[in-house]
């Protein structure tokens, strides 16, 4: 198997035949949907989808591990598989993780994944007051309908975005990358300078190897290992797989969860589910917030979770109930963390710009199957896009319904000794890297990035911006040079096109948000005092 190196969609700009794409767009969409649905009927493909859901559910429940690690582990198993069944497997994992993570968050006050942090605030107090089945019911229904609503938005926007993407040219892509990086830096908590440094380091790593622009090999130290560049799989597996293993091994405790017995009656669970319909406005608002935040490149579920919870708390008529088992809090948290996947999938598939860390791994998985996310994917591989959408719909429903029945039993997963999990995950990370690159030496790269990411995180540098920089580096460089070629070397090309200029303004506005928000707050406070 040849090296699978991340390729930017800009490589294919020259192949655009814009007019013909519009003519039969709807017909193509429907045709691709039928192909994807026909795949699902096959027992083998259906099995992979169910397997994906179970992997996602299990990784969601296990604190310290999440969708990212689930996807990393699944990578090697898709070796030799056709792209469509593999996409169903990945979609199964992505869709099942958030609800899986909510189970220990509600039952034990341990968020299974980072996107379930806000679920603990109101989910656990409900468990303490004997309303665990209701809380699980609310969580399941919010997760399921939140996910479905975001997928509906995705399906509705896909034809529009498809046209927009095809209208994008290199200057717009360049500015889109700049905005993606700015949004990512702003979304990562803490020191903005460190966030920007992380993005720069990620960009530098993406420049290693054969240049797409000049054909010259850069920063390879004369080795064959780096000659073609750093493959995306060892990079992301190192950062989120090996880095997490190091963190888990330092965690100390061997068993995270405690033994738990919950007698959940179906009537109680359904009663919880009904709460969603009593709080329709809160649910729709939270799901839309999740979808919108998912669309913003690199921002991810944690931000969606917190923003949605905070807004629900501020708008609620009973804010004092938040933190003491407020139904609205639970709905806001769970609807948003599931809804972010639909939004994130939109930017990932249409622009090749990952909407979240999971999507960055998905980009690696797509390249493993010889697919290039971005304009080419929605032009040539619509069946893959539909496979991911259908897989996501199915896994959202499956995880919420089946997971609900098995919730208290599945919570036992948190009692697995972490010292058994660590080496097995490490071995599977290495296997994934070896299979993805067919080169044993890339394990060294994975190891290097794993150790490097541990120290980066320890000293306050953002890993998400590092990965975003790496993933977007190729697109940034090729679109920069292609833009200059278009304009015969004039930099004005970035500013005299309306979309490009608008994206530039949005980028600047995004970067200035940390300074503007306190300023606005101060002004508002002064007005109130006056």
């Amino acid at each position: 198997m040849p090296y699978k190196v991340w390729q930017s969609p800009v490589n294919y700009f020259s192949n655009y035949t814009l007019g013909t794409q519009y003519i039969c767009a709807e017909k193509l969409m429907f045709h691709a949907l039928v192909i994807a649905l026909a795949q699902l009927v096959q027992p083998e493909v259906f099995f992979f989808l169910i397997l994906g859901c179970l992997i996602g559910f299990t990784f969601g429940i296990m604190p310290g591990l999440g969708g990212v690690q689930g996807l990393i582990i699944a990578l090697p198993f898709t070796f030799g598989m056709n792209s469509l069944p593999a996409m169903f497997l990945y979609a199964g994992i992505i869709g099942a993780v958030p609800f899986g993570g909510s189970i220990p968050a509600i039952l034990m006050r341990i968020p299974g994944t980072a996107v379930n942090i806000c679920t603990t605030f109101d989910g656990y107090p409900m468990t303490q007051s004997g309303k665990a089945p209701q809380a699980l019911g609310i969580s399941a229904m919010s997760s399921m309908f939140g996910g479905l609503l975001s997928i509906l938005v995705l399906i509705a926007l896909l034809p529009v975005v498809r046209a927009v993407v095809l209208a994008f040219s290199p200057p717009e892509f360049f500015m889109l990358v700049i905005w993606g990086l700015c949004a990512c830096v702003i979304a990562s908590k803490g020191n903005m300078v460190k966030g920007l440094i992380s993005a720069c380091i990620g960009l530098i790593f993406s420049f290693v190897g054969l240049s797409n622009v000049s054909g010259v090999t850069r920063y390879s130290f004369g080795t064959m290992l780096l000659w073609q560049g750093i493959p995306i799989v060892p990079f992301v597996v190192g950062i989120f797989g090996i880095g997490q293993i190091i963190k888990l091994s330092l965690q100390g405790s061997t068993q995270i969860g405690e033994k738990l017995v919950i007698n959940s009656r179906i009537r109680d669970v359904l009663e919880g589910g009904k709460e969603l319909f009593k709080n329709k406005v809160c649910f729709v608002r939270s799901a839309l917030i999740g979808t919108l935040i998912g669309i913003i490149p690199g921002v991810g579920g944690v931000t969606a979770n917190f923003v949605s919870y905070l807004i629900a708390m501020q708008i609620s008529k009973r804010p004092q109930k938040f933190g003491h088992g407020a139904v609205e809090g639970l709905i806001a948290s769970e609807a948003a963390n599931n809804a972010k996947d639909g939004g994130a999938l939109l930017t990932t598939l249409s622009f090749g710009i990952p909407g979240s860390v999971e999507m960055a791994i998905l980009l690696g998985a797509l390249t493993l199957h010889g697919l290039s996310p971005g304009p080419l994917l929605i032009r040539d591989n619509l069946d893959v896009v539909w496979a991911l959408i259908i897989g996501l719909i199915f896994s959202t429903i499956f995880a919420s319904s089946v997971g609900l029945v098995l919730a208290s039993r599945m919570a036992a997963i948190t009692r697995i000794d972490i010292k058994i999990v660590i080496p097995i995950v490490a071995v599977l990370c290495f296997v994934g890297v070896i299979i993805a690159t067919d080169d044993v030496l890339t394990v060294f790269l994975c190891l290097f990035f794993g150790i490097f990411s541990y120290f980066m995180e320890k000293f306050g540098f953002s890993l998400v911006t590092l990965v975003m920089g790496f993933v977007l580096g190729g697109l940034l460089e090729t679109s920069f040079h292609a833009s200059l070629q278009m304009s015969f070397g004039s930099y004005a090309v970035f500013f005299n096109r309306p979309i490009s200029l608008a994206l530039f303004c949005i980028s600047m506005l995004t970067l200035s948000l940390p300074f503007l928000v306190p300023l606005v707050k101060r002004l508002v406070r002064r007005q109130v005092v006056k």
Binding site: F79, P111, F306, V427, I434, L513
Partner: protein, 172 residues
């Protein structure tokens, strides 16, 4: 005044700065088209790293660029006590063990191949890190290896690296 910085963070920031400078120097050796974008990024990286270094020495300076758009102030009041899963204070010996184990595992794969390397390193981990008894260690080691062998060698027909000692060749 200079003692207020954290040594680890300061050293890491120096390393990052050195990384950017060395990449910048390497870039100068390439033609203008090849180096233009990397040089722009490096220049930005150097300026930001200098800011970061100043921030490490004078922590008050960093407060100006600390940002948290999603203010969790309101949430702190409802989140209650500290999170159970929060990573405890770093244990240096554990850190050294885990990094050493990963490095040894990599070299074992290179030397004796994936299968033997995996069995040896899993055994080392379960016996010396997890501190399990002999029986549990052997069962877990063999069980994991068997799972990998059946999945990848038998079902997926993927042949793993055989190891330099067994005649495999590595091109660096």
């Amino acid at each position: 005044m200079i003692k207020c910085y954290k040594r680890g963070g300061f050293l890491f920031s120096v390393l990052i700065l050195a990384f950017f400078i060395s990449i910048g120097l390497m870039s100068l050796g390439y033609d203008s088209k090849t180096r233009s974008v990397p040089l722009l990024v490096v220049m930005g990286g150097i300026i930001l790293s200098l800011f970061d270094l100043v921030g490490e020495i004078f922590p008050r300076f960093t407060l100006r660029v600390e940002q948290n758009l999603v203010s969790t102030e309101g949430i702190k009041s409802v989140s209650g006590t500290k999170n159970d899963t929060e990573v405890k204070k770093d244990n240096r010996s554990t850190l050294i063990f885990i990094i050493l184990w990963l490095v040894i595992y990599f070299f074992l794969i290179l030397l004796v191949g994936f299968h033997i390397g995996t069995v040896i390193s899993l055994f080392i981990f379960f016996k010396f890190f997890s501190k399990y008894g002999w029986l549990k260690t052997i069962i877990l080691t063999i069980g994991t290896w068997l799972f990998l062998y059946v999945c990848f060698d038998v079902l997926l027909k993927f042949s793993f690296f055989q190891g330099i000692l067994f005649g495999a060749v590595v091109v660096i």
